[in-house]
């Protein structure tokens, strides 16, 4: 939604309350979002592209490549990948064959950028060059013995280890995590559903936490459990990072911090109640953009919820080389990504 439309809508929605408040504050203070040292100004009109020419459906994920460009993945097959510069101007687009485009991961292999796309509809993971040439396709993982047909497998995310191993999260299928070597040969699987802590429910995202170089680990989303779960690189469960109330999407690590889009909250499901959450190195919530800063009791945060309706259903956060954030949203009226600048 662009701002003009936003203002129109909010004027209608707020009715009588809108007029007095507008009179009092003809030039209101600019809203600063977030907490502690992670506070931002927002630009909801960052994208400068023409919606009629380059439409989007759901804006699922974003990454920045080595040239500094911002890549957006959408399930609109007119242009599955939209490439922007940091000011929101269009550079180029590609891709018409990813109707279920969901996960977008960038891996720099010996100096060259490659992309991994998870397609929910095709039940596949596809490795491409940065300009979209297909290099490798991973089909449903029958090697695991857990799947009998492609439809059972709905991959949502990948992460690539420094040695090239590919980890795939089957977040809308059976919640297993599959590990392959760089050529796509199956190594192992773990996760899946069950009652013990090591299991997952809606394994929507995955990343590698290498902030402690000695002890790199995997962080996997268990979205319907409102948590991240940590595993060794071999898939042995380590522990759970509870985030009460927050439907966390994929974890994204940049510098000392972990960022994640919260699709919605438990308190307000199906009510556009999302925000963006930031954890420090010790997995403590230090800022919520559009949400409350939770109190901690015995290392467990209190319930989190939306406080400011900045976002509807945020689905991913990309952090660029200047610490700006870009937020892509699912099912939010074909809105283009927002940009947030640190203050």
């Amino acid at each position: 939604m662009n701002r003009r439309k936003f203002i129109k809508n909010s004027s209608l929605a707020a009715g009588a309350f809108y007029l007095p408040s507008a009179l009092q504050s003809i030039n209101p203070e600019e809203v600063i979002l977030g907490h502690n040292n992670k506070r931002y100004r927002i630009d909801t009109n960052w994208s400068k592209i023409n919606a009629a020419q380059y439409p989007v459906k759901d804006c699922h994920e974003m990454v920045q490549d080595k040239l500094g460009r911002i890549l957006l993945l959408t399930n609109e097959t007119k242009n599955n990948v939209i490439i922007y510069d940091k000011s929101g101007k269009l550079i180029s687009t590609w891709g018409n064959e990813y109707p279920g485009a969901h996960g977008l991961t960038l891996f720099n292999e010996n100096g060259e950028d490659f992309l991994f796309i998870c397609d929910n509809n095709r039940h596949q993971v596809i490795k491409t060059t940065i300009s979209g040439r297909v290099l490798l396709t991973l089909d449903y993982p029958k090697e695991t013995g857990q799947y009998t047909k492609p439809e059972e497998y709905i991959p949502t995310e990948t992460i690539i280890a420094p040695n090239g191993d590919i980890y795939v999260a089957d977040g809308y299928g059976k919640d297993f995590i599959m590990q392959y070597d760089s050529k796509g040969n199956y190594i192992r699987h773990f996760g899946g559903r069950g009652d013990a802590d090591k299991f997952l429910l809606n394994a929507h995202g995955i990343c590698i936490d290498d902030r402690d170089k000695e002890k790199s680990c995997l962080i996997v989303t268990s979205r319907m459990q409102n948590a991240f779960k940590r595993y060794t690189m071999e898939g042995i469960y380590i522990d759970t990072i509870p985030l009460p109330g927050a439907w966390v999407c994929r974890p994204v690590i940049k510098g000392d911090y972990l960022y994640t889009a919260v699709l919605q909250t438990n308190a307000r499901q199906s009510e556009k109640s999302g925000f963006v959450l930031i954890l420090d190195k010790n997995y403590k919530v230090i800022s919520n953009i559009g949400g409350n800063l939770p109190a901690y009791d015995n290392n467990i945060p209190g319930e989190m919820y939306q406080t400011i309706k900045v976002f509807q259903y945020p689905h991913d956060v990309c952090i660029d080389d200047e610490e700006n954030l870009y937020v892509a949203q699912w099912n939010s009226g074909q809105v283009y990504p927002y940009k947030l600048m640190p203050v």
Binding site: R3, I7, A14, Y18, A22, P28, V31
Partner: protein, 259 residues
């Protein structure tokens, strides 16, 4: 005419200064159950610097001139609480609403026709357990139906003089959960036949907010009985204004009271 000019003026002022006003989210209302006997408490939660919660207990929309929330409220009578957040630089929130429902006549048991297997609640006293009033249809407090007719039989603990029956119904139209088309109430008379006691027809002609709707059907005259029968008719077709139009609607109920 003057009003519309002012509106246009404000629109341009707002637009030209380039500052975006966001809306606050509505406060969270925390309570064990909307149904109580004796008393219960309500906590309101909204932690956003500079924002405050104002509420009413008279059914009106809260304004800054109403009650400022400071500490949990104690509820001792049937009450509608409406709460809203306000803050400088933000548009005020939408309204959070909860209706607290007091205990009625003693109920021995309530039997009900078979709900959809996904929403059975797994409790035989689910409609008279004093638990419910939360809008999440996925919790085990709700019975969910998507068939044409729902029959409910209420056995009171003893013969009583009664004047109304209250049914707590979920409205969550995004999830295809609607009020029923009709509710018919019957009572068992001295001759052991069921006679009409009351009736309610609902028209879901436009969008409603997501809420627990406590419908009290008041009889035209008081009756003496120990047995009531409710026939509820879920909407067979979702109305045309809704994206799910033409499909069978759902009916969700979580509690019944007799007064």
């Amino acid at each position: 005419m003057r009003k519309s000019l002012l509106f246009i003026f404000l629109f341009f002022v707002q637009y030209s200064f380039g500052q975006q006003q966001f809306q606050l989210a509505a406060p969270l209302l925390k309570y064990n159950s909307a149904f109580f006997s004796g008393s219960t408490s309500l906590q309101m939660i909204f932690d956003q610097p500079g924002a405050e919660i104002y509420y009413t207990v008279n059914g009106k929309e809260p304004t800054r001139n109403d009650l400022l929330y400071k500490e949990p409220l104690i509820v001792t009578a049937r009450t509608v609480v409406k709460a809203k957040t306000f803050g400088k630089d933000f548009l005020s929130s939408e309204t959070s609403v909860v209706e607290f429902i007091n205990a009625g006549k003693m109920i021995r048991q309530i039997s009900f026709s078979k709900p959809n297997e996904k929403y059975t609640g797994n409790k035989t006293d689910i409609l008279n357990d004093n638990i419910g009033g939360n809008t999440n249809f996925n919790n085990s407090e709700w019975l969910g139906y998507n068939n044409d007719t729902v029959e409910i039989n209420i056995d009171l603990a003893k013969k009583e003089t009664i004047h109304s029956v209250l049914i707590s119904i979920l409205q969550d139209e995004n999830s295809w959960i609607f009020l029923p088309g009709q509710i018919l109430v019957y009572y068992l008379d001295k001759q052991k036949t069921f006679l009409p006691a009351g009736k309610e027809i609902f028209f879901s002609e436009s969008k409603s907010p997501k809420q627990c709707f406590a419908k009290e059907i008041i009889f035209s005259s008081k009756i003496k009985t120990d047995k009531l029968k409710l026939i509820m008719l879920p909407l067979k077709k979702i109305p045309d204004w809704h994206p799910g139009k033409g499909n069978h609607a759902w009916l969700f109920i979580d509690e019944i009271k007799v007064y």
